[in-house]
């Protein structure tokens, strides 16, 4: 296996990958919005403050990362901030994935929706809302998608049991 080097930290990534199209675009847009960055196993992860995600998404989209391939959440219960949102974005020109990441607090979690940037985020955000209970502001149809409408709880949260009766 090719050992890929790991770069941890915002300053280190900006210094090591100044020519990377996504890093370049983000630095040109607003380097302050970037709170953390990591390059690990050939994958670039850029972390943003929750209120900046829509603008960050629009920035990388303009930089050539045109295709939102996937979006999901991870529950880091009981640590704080509790939820991590991961957006996987593909560039057809650079032939590369990048990951945008947002950390969200556990109490009444809410993030800006990126549906104005990528309409395809619609179902993904509904899925995260349904299974994690994270609300997306500005989403056109914030309803459950997998579970029945009258379901109580959000199954993919870590404090939700894997089996048993409700």
């Amino acid at each position: 296996m090719v050992e890929s080097h790991t770069i941890v930290g915002k300053a280190a990534v900006i210094e090591a990958l100044p020519e990377h199209p996504a890093v370049k675009a983000i630095v040109a847009w607003n380097a302050e919005a970037l709170t953390d960055a990591k390059f690990d196993r050939n994958e670039l992860t850029l972390t943003f403050a929750p209120e900046q995600i829509r603008a960050a998404a629009a920035t990388v989209q303009a930089a050539g990362y045109k295709f939102l391939e996937d979006m999901t959440a991870v529950d880091w219960f009981p640590s704080s901030p509790r939820f991590q949102l991961s957006y996987h974005i593909l560039s057809h020109t650079f032939k590369e994935h990048i990951r945008l990441r947002v950390m969200v607090e556990g109490a009444d979690p809410s993030v800006e929706s990126i549906t104005p940037v990528w309409p395809s985020a619609n179902y993904y955000e509904r899925e995260v809302f349904d299974l994690f209970g994270i609300r997306f502001e500005g989403h056109p149809n914030m309803r459950r998608i997998m579970m029945p409408d009258d379901w109580v709880g959000h199954p993919l949260r870590k404090d939700y049991p894997v089996e048993g009766y409700r």
Binding site: S120, Y123, P155
Partner: protein, 406 residues
């Protein structure tokens, strides 16, 4: 706990400017042309679709939640059940993702066999698509022909994995076992005659005036819409986006194979039909190259703490027995981190996002499946078309409800 918001679609107001004669009808979830339990709520003006709303979730089994309670190697059989028409692609994508986390690479022969089997699996998936799509439109005969060849493929899967549909043949670090001695000859025999079979399907459909009229110009999707709505795979390439993960971001040794990626710019159901037919021919080419260049060597990586030992060794060697016992009872620890691995499956781009916290069980496994995203484009494709076209369009985007609901 957060509350659900919004109104159920049947109580939703009609579209802006809707006239009195607009009607809301329900299609599915028990409908033969929806290929599973897909429910569509349609707002129609006479026979014309004004709005379409897919209601999914009837097959939701919480596989992602189940994965978090299993050891890494126990997740492989779960992945088969997501897209049951293309089982080996799921196995491959999951194994590649975990191998990336581990920094482990499968041996050369395992990679080549994986490519060969995934392409057979793609043929399997395309054959089912072709048969059912044509049947939805009224060309019943093709179904019988495609299922004849599908049966041959399933027999090959059975020979290699012991299972026809839920193969679970790939393991983290390689394959579960060596294929049978005559396996490659059997694949060769199948591949030798298969191109003629594709001609047979084409003879039945390509010149058929009813089939042409039902597909040509129906369900148009522009390249910009395809990208905006997350459409991948053959429907995306039929809209003119020239991208294939096998060629552009090769994995599992695909860079060693020569094949063309069929593109069409028409963007309608007919283009999707043509693209998939050519893709089947290209898959045959890849399988032929895999057979010709099949390397020798082991099919499992040399990583005794991760890969189960051979049965023979387990029963004769102390270390192998200990490793076997440890892997089965405790699993193996995977270094902390997160990876995303995308592959080009039969239906489009499949992706696995695996997060590890350093224990023997995955902290989070998320599957990106093409049908889930492609379904969002259904409304765009159906708007302004006749009700009967919905059946043709659903067939042409080739969705599997198992992978939408997971």
């Amino acid at each position: 706990m957060t509350e659900t918001i919004g109104t159920p679609i049947l109580e939703a107001p009609l579209a802006e400017g809707a006239k009195d004669q607009h009607m809301i009808i329900n299609m599915g979830p028990q409908h033969p042309a929806t290929h599973g339990v897909l429910r569509l709520v349609l707002e129609i003006d006479g026979e014309i679709i004004v709005r379409l709303y897919p209601e999914v979730g009837y097959l939701h089994t919480g596989i992602e939640k189940t994965c978090e309670a299993k050891f890494y190697q126990q997740v492989v059989p779960l992945t088969d059940r997501i897209n049951y028409l293309d089982p080996l692609s799921n196995n491959l994508c999951y194994c590649l993702a975990v191998e990336k986390l581990l920094g482990l690479e499968a041996p050369e022969k395992a990679k080549w066999l994986r490519v060969l089997l995934v392409e057979l699996s793609r043929l399997n998936s395309h054959l089912i698509w072709l048969g059912t799509h044509a049947m939805d439109i009224g060309a019943l005969t093709v179904f019988l022909y495609t299922f004849r060849e599908r049966e041959d493929i399933l027999r090959l899967f059975e020979a290699v994995a012991g299972q026809r549909m839920m193969t679970s043949y790939f393991r983290i670090g390689g394959l579960s076992m060596e294929p049978p001695l005559d396996f490659l000859d059997r694949v060769q025999a199948f591949i030798r005659t298969f191109p003629e079979k594709i001609d047979e399907y084409a003879n039945l459909l390509t010149g058929n005036p009813i089939f042409r009229n039902r597909l040509m110009g129906v369900g148009y999707l522009s390249a910009a819409d395809a990208i905006a709505l997350g459409v991948t795979g053959p429907p995306m390439r039929a809209s003119g986006v020239d991208f294939d993960l096998r060629r552009d971001m090769p994995y599992s040794g695909y860079e060693k194979f020569k094949f063309d990626v069929p593109i069409s710019t028409a963007g309608d159901c007919w283009a999707r039909y043509e693209v998939r037919l050519v893709e089947m021919r290209e898959s045959v080419k890849i399988i032929q190259q895999a057979l010709d260049g099949m390397p020798e060597g082991p099919v499992k990586a040399d990583a005794p703490k991760i890969v189960l030992p051979d049965r023979e060794k387990m029963k004769t060697q102390m270390e192998a027995l200990i490793h076997h016992f440890k892997i089965v009872t405790e699993g193996f620890e995977v270094p902390a981190g997160e990876v995303y691995q995308g592959i080009e499956a039969g239906h489009g781009q499949t992706g696995y996002y695996v997060v590890s916290d350093g224990t023997a069980k995955p902290y989070r496994v998320h599957m990106r499946y093409p049908s889930f995203a492609t379904l969002q484009a259904l409304e765009t494709m159906c708007q302004g078309r006749m009700l009967a076209d919905v059946v043709a369009i659903i067939g042409s985007i080739d969705i599997v409800l198992g992978e939408i609901d997971r």
